[in-house]
Structures are given as C-alpha cells and as structure tokens.
Amino acid sequence: MEKILVCIKRVIDYNVKIRVKPDESGVVTEGVKMSINPFDEIALEEALRIKESGNAAEVVIISIGPDDSQQQLRTGLAMGADRAILIKHDEEIEPLTVAKALSEIVEKENPGLIMMGKQAIDDDSSQTGQILAQLCDIPQATFASKVTIEGNKAIVVREIDQGLETLDIDLPAIITTDLRLNEPRYVKLPDIMKAKKKILDVIESSELNTEFSSSIEVINVAPPPPRESGVMVNDVDELVIALKEKGLLS
C-alpha cells in the first residue's frame, strides 16, 4: 500500500503519578513530563515494521492538540515516520470530534491503513478508532496483538475478553493496537537530528469543517476515594483467622 496513517496523542507520561488540581477542574499538567500515548507508540512501531517489510511506502503521523504536540510528532518522526501533521487545537476534545477532524484528513490523504492505540491513557475512552472507522465506512480491528498484511487484506489477532479472536478485514481499515503487539524501538540521537528536517504541517482546527463542540460537560475531576489502610500478618494461621473474622472463610 502507498501510505499508513498513524494517529498519536500527547499525554502525561505513564510513569508520572498524576495529581488532581485543588479546584477539581482537571489534573495537573504544568511542569509534568509529556509523551506519546504508549498504545499509539506501539501503533507507530507496527506501521514502521509494515513499511520496513515492504508492505507500505510511507508512514504519516497525525496528532490533534496544543502546539506542544509538535514535540511528540518530532519523536515519532525520529522513530522513523516520514512526515507529520498537527491539527492545532488548545481545548479538550471529545473522541467524536477528534474522529470527525481525522476523517477530513483521511479523505485528503487516502491511506491504505490507519493505526492508533486502543485507548489513550489519559481519558481511557477507547473510542476514536472505532468512530473513525464508522465515519469512513471501513473495517476495524481493535485491541490487536498480531497484524499480518496480505495484499489488500489484513489478518488481525485481537485480545478480547473471551480469548484471542482472528479477523480477516479488507483494506483500507483501522487497526487499534494492544500492548503485546510489539515493543517500540528506542530513538537514536542521529535520528533526532534527521527528524528536525522532516515535514511537519500545522493546520489550525478552525480551517477544518468539523465543529469543535461537545454535549458532554465535565463537572469536576476528583481523586478516587482512598482504601482504608490494611494490616500485615505473619503466617498462614493468622491469615486464616483474619479472613474468618471478616466472614470470608467458614
């Protein structure tokens, strides 16, 4: 195929312990390390491997978010993507809007395959890929743990609650990636230098036809209720007694 489009989101790095803002309007992002959503990084790695195996000519990455998302796109370019697109938008956006905006780019770029993570680790919505698939009227294979390209089809193994499901889908299609699909490569310094010369197009969200709005209002964001602190016991007998006291063993 000619082109794979990989969608990546800028999120708080997964190693950061998140903190809720005192006014409960959201989580603290100022001065916090940001990264490519780890699931999206896996999607990009898979796209690069498909290209390296001769099954695709170009890997294009796209992100929607604030101007700083250029950092994550540069990282993606350093990993090996050929060029990048940023749809610049500063406010939080619902997946439906993201998918609509992406569908405008899909129409223009006409990729043979679209990939992204199965969810973003910030809002955990797990919607964008599936919405985009429906908007483009193309197949989807979510939660992928193995992808094989066979001409104008893909064979995808999916991790579902009941086990491993295999789907055979026509291309173009959308594949969303799960953790066990691959291990993303490390970026080397020369690649970072090379990435600076690659094309990164910035589009203002207002240039698109998509209306950036939502019918869902976030009232507040609060920390989860704490669990009561537990006790340490010394051996099996003490554990059995403790469980019996709680009525969990007869």
Binding site: E94, L179, I216, V221, D237, L243
Partner: protein
C-alpha cells in the same frame, strides 16, 4: 420516562454477566428498560428475559450475528436505538468495540466506563486508570450513549420473565468487509473472573506456567477463579484472557489474592474495587502492600501449599 436500551453481550449460547450488570446500571436511570439481543437463534433472548428489571427483550435473529462483528451490528443497533433516549453497553471488549460505531452513526458523544449514576444525566467515570474520577453531565435533550464499567455494578437476579419481541432485521446497509476467522478460548471449569466471588492471581513471582498449578489447587479448594498480572501473561505463564488490570479485566470479587504481584498501577486499577485484598509477596517493599487489606511477606512456594492444606 427515559427509555433505555441495553445491548446484550453473549458468548457460546450464554448471556454474559456483563449484560445483567449493565441492566443494573440502567435501572438506576429509569424503570423502562429493554434489552436488544442480536443472535443467530432466539434461545439467548429467552435467557435475557429472565434478568430482573427488564421490560422487553427485542430479539433479532440473523445469520450475520453468528459472531459479534461490530461493523455489522452497529447499523442495526443504531436503527433500533432511534426509539430510545439512552443506549447502554457493557464496557467489555465487546461493548468498547461496538459502542463508538453507534456514536458515529447517531452523531452522539459516548461516555465510556460509567461507574456510578449520580442523576439521570450525571455520571462518574474513571480516567487515568482510575487515578482520578470525572463527573460528567450530558446536555438536556441529547441521547445518552454509554458503556458501563461492570465491576461497579452487581449482577441482578434471574427471576424475571420479560416480554420477548421477535423483531425483523431492519432494512439497513450491512457491510461485508469484515470476516470472522476463529476464536481461541481457554476452556476452564473454574468460575468466570468477572463473576467469581474469590479470585486468586499470580504475577511474575510465580515464575513459570507449571508453578501456576499451585494457584489452581488453591482456587479449586476455594471455588475461586484464577487471574494473572500483565507480567505473568507477557512471560507466557498463562493466556491473555486471564489478565487482570487496566488492559485486561477489571474485577471486583469479595476476596482477592495477589501472589507474587508487585502491584503496578495498571494492575491495581483492575482490582481496587475488590472487597478484601490479600497480598503475598517476598518483597516487603512491593507497592501491592499499600493497597492490600491483609499483607504477608512470605515465600509463596511455601505459603500457598500450607494455606491450601490448612483449608482442607
């Protein structure tokens, strides 16, 4: 009154408990609850009609529903949904795969992982793997479309006999671009992870697939289900459908045992609604002890056989 439609999840001829838990969530929104069952015969619809609080079961029987393929189901669900104010699906891999396609067709924003109903249009949901809780409100006059975090709702009783309405396949375009090939499932006699009142999980510390036998023996004594951390699945000790955590199954048993699990944030996200968490780890500094109700610093290879024998 708000008319709610719950989309049933079924597998291998059985309604999955996630459906009943989703109905439970629906019952906190409205008393008018219908279930939509898409299947290749109507026997599943009868089982769905037993779930308490359900008014009608709408059954559409068609060969194309032999396996759940979201691109085939979505236009049908969207068509039936037109009559409803609120559409709920379980937040299982089934619901997560299907719901957003309905969102696209209906042009309605979707709420993922409803964990509590605070009002007819106000819901709580976890973000950042449960490290923060978002309260959201859906605008008046908008259809509600959501997936329900099943670990947050109990299964309802099965004493109902709701109407079963056998409906015609609606006249919608159903694509043929997606073909189901196969599913590989581990067959087990033990209770389902999402249903079991006791779950025993092992992590990297269990060391091998063979060593998981220790956990199976304890589980069989307690009538428990067996799960695993991502590390144990990645190491190949057990298959992926046993994974408990943010990327695996989110569970809430009465009693949870974590053996040789360090307690990565992603694992804790999947178990923190459990009643009592027991952690056994030889590393006294393992983060799992921070959330455990009962902790024991011990070698699990000595501890588990002793516990198993003392329960006999």
């Amino acid at each position: 009154m708000t008319k709610v439609l719950v989309i049933a999840e079924h597998f291998d001829g059985e309604i999955i408990s996630s459906t009943s838990k989703t109905v439970n969530c629906a019952s906190q929104i409205s008393e008018s609850i219908d279930i939509l069952v898409l299947g290749d015969d109507n026997s599943i619809a009868l089982k769905a009609s037993n779930i308490e609080s359900v008014k009608n079961v709408i059954a559409i029987s068609n060969q194309s529903f032999e396996y759940p393929v979201s691109s085939i189901m979505a236009p049908v669900v969207a068509e039936i949904s037109k009559e409803y104010d609120c559409i709920l699906l379980p937040s299982s891999t089934f619901g997560k795969d299907l719901a957003p396609r309905i969102s696209a067709i209906l042009d309605v924003n979707q709420v993922t992982d409803i964990m509590s109903v605070e009002g007819p249009r106000v819901f709580k949901r976890p973000i950042y793997a449960g490290n923060a809780i978002q309260t959201i409100k859906i605008a008046e006059g908008q259809k509600i479309l959501g997936t329900v975090r099943t670990a947050s709702f109990k299964e309802l009783g099965n004493s109902n006999s709701a109407n079963v309405i056998e409906a015609e396949m609606p006249d919608v375009h159903v694509p043929n671009h997606t073909r189901f090939i196969k599913i590989e499932s581990e067959k087990t006699e033990r209770p389902d992870l999402q249903v079991a009142s006791t779950v025993i999980s092992g992590g990297r510390g269990v060391g091998s697939a063979e060593n998981f036998e220790l956990l199976y023996q304890l589980a069989d004594k307690l009538g428990a289900s067996v799960g695993a951390s991502r590390a144990a699945v990645d190491a190949g000790f057990v298959p992926n459908d046993m994974q408990v955590g943010q990327t695996g199954k989110i569970i809430a048993p009465q009693l949870y045992f974590a053996f040789g699990i360090s307690g990565a944030i992603q694992h804790i996200a999947g178990i923190k609604d459990s009643g009592t968490i027991v952690a056994v780890n030889k590393d006294a500094d393992a983060p799992i002890f921070e959330i455990a109700d009962i902790g024991i610093v011990a070698d699990l290879f000595e501890f588990i056989p002793e516990l198993t024998s003392k329960l006999g």
